[in-house]
Amino acid sequence: MKKTTVLQVCVAFVLCSPQVMTGSPVDCPDQDTAGTSCSISMEKLLERAVQHAELIYRVSEESKLLFDEMLISNGMNLHIPEGNMCAPKTVPVPLSKSEIQQISDKWILHSLLILAQFWIDPLAEVQASLENYENAPSALLTRSKWMSTKLMSLEQGITVLIRQILGEGSLTLEGLEETSDRFVSSNILETVRRDYSVIYCFRKDAHKMQTFLKLLKCRQIDKENCSLF
């Protein structure tokens, strides 16, 4: 009996120890968060956020292509003037690498949060609207559904990052969203145009989020190699 118990203990130890070795190093930062559980390390958080954003961008790109194909196959030659399609955000977003490198982490994080929060509702609307199309490809439907869910989790991640890096509480969107987006048009062309513009502009903003996060990750983790401001 003794032998077996010893063996069991050893096996249990062996099984448990890799978890201990590769377990996430937890940070228990400050006393403000007393009562809440320890959070995941920032490297892992940033890593996950970057992967999320990259994946969201890739799926949004595919969605746009699928939408283009659908338009072409339906014979809708929508020449959508791309120039002024995407509504400008109330808060200006840096637009070049040099600009981005000059702004602070705080600014990057706030921009990220604004972008993420902005797109949750329009994506949900587009997804509902796409279901009413006659021959929308199912791949497009699944992708739009996927994007809205993943965007919500990305937003949560950004909130956690803000709390960890900046130590702030939760941030509410101060800029007013134009709620005039919620129009239901009986005109099919208008609806299609609106849906296309949502997908098109979301793709662009997804690329922005991805880029911001990658820069942020480099700055936080690998300070020597990243070109700083």
């Binding site: 990259e54 961008y57 890739r58 790109e61 791309e82 120039g83 002024n84 400008p88 977003v93 637009l95 070049s96 690498k97 040099s98 490198q101 662009k204 690329h207 922005k208 880029t211 990658k214 820069l215 990750k217 480099c218 190699n225 990243c226 070109s227």
Partner: protein
């Protein structure tokens, strides 16, 4: 003639003047061919001019940014060559749409190209990787060659601004053949080197690398790198392989031969045969050969009476007594061994017909003395005293050699299965008694050796119930497949093999 010459001259002059004036026109529309950004920080646009209209034409490029109406002109016309416009870092904004137009103008007019809308994030195509080189690594068992390269010098891969991905392709150079062999492509991720294993010896390889930023366009293939694989490495390997294969074939054939010749012992070695159930001391071979002596000598001490042998020893004993046929059967207990269902009906009839019961002298005064003889060294069973027997039903389980109760079914199976249908019916009606077995009585000479007519009952394989004064009775065995008639005079019973008899007495009356 003069006139003709003059006319010709004027005609020619007119024509040249006309043609001269016709060539001059406003320029044709230029066309913007492409715009590219090599690192997502700057970009360049190229256009192709339309017809010049015969006059010197100048080109300007104007652009507008997405939401503003202000028009700007190209910041640098020269850096990227002719008919190009280079936007440096200060003038490049990502994620906004540039609306670009090229204007060709000469003395006679202007021509506007079609406007092109450009977003920098969509036009990213990097320069090819640099310094591609290939080296051959000769390790003994697995030679390979290693491809190494550098990222394009203007891509900022370190800060995370762009994520770069590489792709390697190679093919064997067939200088002799006319047809082209195909390229093999391998994705190399973010690493800066790549190993290619198992190259063809003696072949010339051409290797190229290209890269991509984020989701942009693939770059051009880098300049080729060449490598020649030396020839000599294959021979020893081939010889080794051939020898190994032939050895294995020989070994295989040998084992097959050995197996076929010595099948049984090998088979027994790997799959030992399952032993059949046996009674210790009893050899089935002896049984079959039919020598009772040997059989019993194993079981019992020698001296056991010789019995006429039968090969199958189904011994069930019917203890029967003569009864009228009107006897009500219901009051009697039957114990019926049945082997095989087809005996059911038969046995019922037979029982009714042949019900003979042995009644021992049922007067209460007479006690039949029965002697029992025990012939065994092992039997130590003691039957209960006779006093308890008379008038009382008793239950006796059959006893095997060691005095342990044995179930009836097992006994049947133990016996050699000669007859298909055994029916043993025991109808206890009268009083039966048996005699105490005393160990001391062993010394008595066995009665049974000579005269089996004395045996009235067999209780176990060692115990024969003898009757001193026997009214004429008959034993009868009922067997489905054997018709056996009881003889009036004598007692005939089946020779004893191992005898189990299940006797169950229950009072039915």
């Amino acid at each position: 003639m003069w006139r003709d010459a003059e006319q010709a001259l004027t005609l020619m002059w007119l024509l040249s003047w006309i043609s001269h004036s016709m060539c001059h026109s406003s320029p044709g529309r230029p066309r913007i061919t492409r715009c590219r950004s090599p690192e997502k920080e700057t970009f360049t646009c190229w256009w192709e001019p339309g017809s010049t209209g015969g006059l010197p034409t100048s080109y300007q490029l104007y652009y507008r940014k997405e939401s503003s109406l202000e028009v700007f002109e190209c910041p640098d016309y020269h850096k990227a060559g002719n008919n190009s416009c280079y936007f440096d870092k200060r003038h490049t904004s990502i994620w906004i749409i540039y609306n670009i137009t090229v204007v060709a103008s000469n003395a006679l007019g202007k021509a506007y190209s079609e406007s092109v809308e450009v977003d920098v994030m969509d036009i990213v195509q990097p320069h090819p990787p640099e310094n591609v080189n290939v080296t051959f690594m000769q390790t003994t068992n697995s030679p390979y060659f290693l491809v190494q390269w550098q990222p394009p010098h203007d891509a900022d891969t370190r800060s995370g601004w762009v994520t770069i991905k590489y792709e390697v392709r190679l093919k064997i150079e067939n200088s002799g053949n006319e047809e082209d062999s195909n390229w093999e492509s391998y994705s190399a991720g973010k690493q800066l080197e790549f190993s290619i294993y198992s190259p063809q010896p003696g072949a010339n390889y051409i290797v190229q690398v290209r890269c991509k930023l984020d989701q942009g366009l693939w770059s051009e293939w880098s300049p080729s790198a060449f490598i020649q694989i030396p020839d000599n490495m294959s021979d020893t390997q081939n010889a080794f392989m051939i020898i190994a294969v032939t050895l294995m074939v020989i070994i295989f054939l040998l084992t097959a031969g050995v197996l076929t010749v010595k099948m049984k012992p090998v088979k027994h070695f790997f799959l030992p045969p399952v032993p059949e159930p046996k009674i210790s001391g009893l050899d089935t071979q002896l049984l079959k050969s039919g020598k009772a002596e040997d059989i019993f000598s194993a079981l019992i001490t020698p001296g056991y009476p010789q019995i006429a042998q039968r090969s199958d020893h189904q011994v069930e004993y019917l203890v029967v007594s003569d009864y009228d046929e009107e006897m009500d059967f219901n009051g009697k207990a039957h114990l019926e061994f049945q082997k095989g269902e087809n005996c059911l009906t038969d046995t019922a009839q037979k029982v009714s017909q042949n019900s003979i019961q042995i009644t021992l002298n049922s007067s209460q005064d007479v006690r039949t003395t029965l002697s029992e003889h025990v012939y065994s060294g092992a039997v130590s069973s003691q039957l209960s005293a006779t006093s308890g027997v008379l008038g009382e039903p008793q239950e006796l389980l059959p006893l095997d050699c060691n005095g342990l109760p044995v179930k009836a079914q097992d006994q049947n199976t133990q016996m050699s299965s000669g007859s298909k249908c055994e029916h043993v019916s025991i109808n206890p009606a009268g009083l039966m008694g048996y005699v105490e077995v005393d160990e001391e009585k062993r010394d008595q000479t066995p009665l049974v050796g000579e005269d089996y007519s004395m045996v009235t009952d067999v209780i176990s394989d060692k115990i024969l119930v003898l009757q001193d004064s026997i009214p004429k009775q008959g034993h009868k065995e009922v067997k489905c497949d054997k018709t056996f008639k009881a003889e009036e005079t004598g007692v005939v019973f089946e020779p004893l093999g191992y005898l189990e008899t299940l006797t169950t007495f229950s009072s039915g009356s």
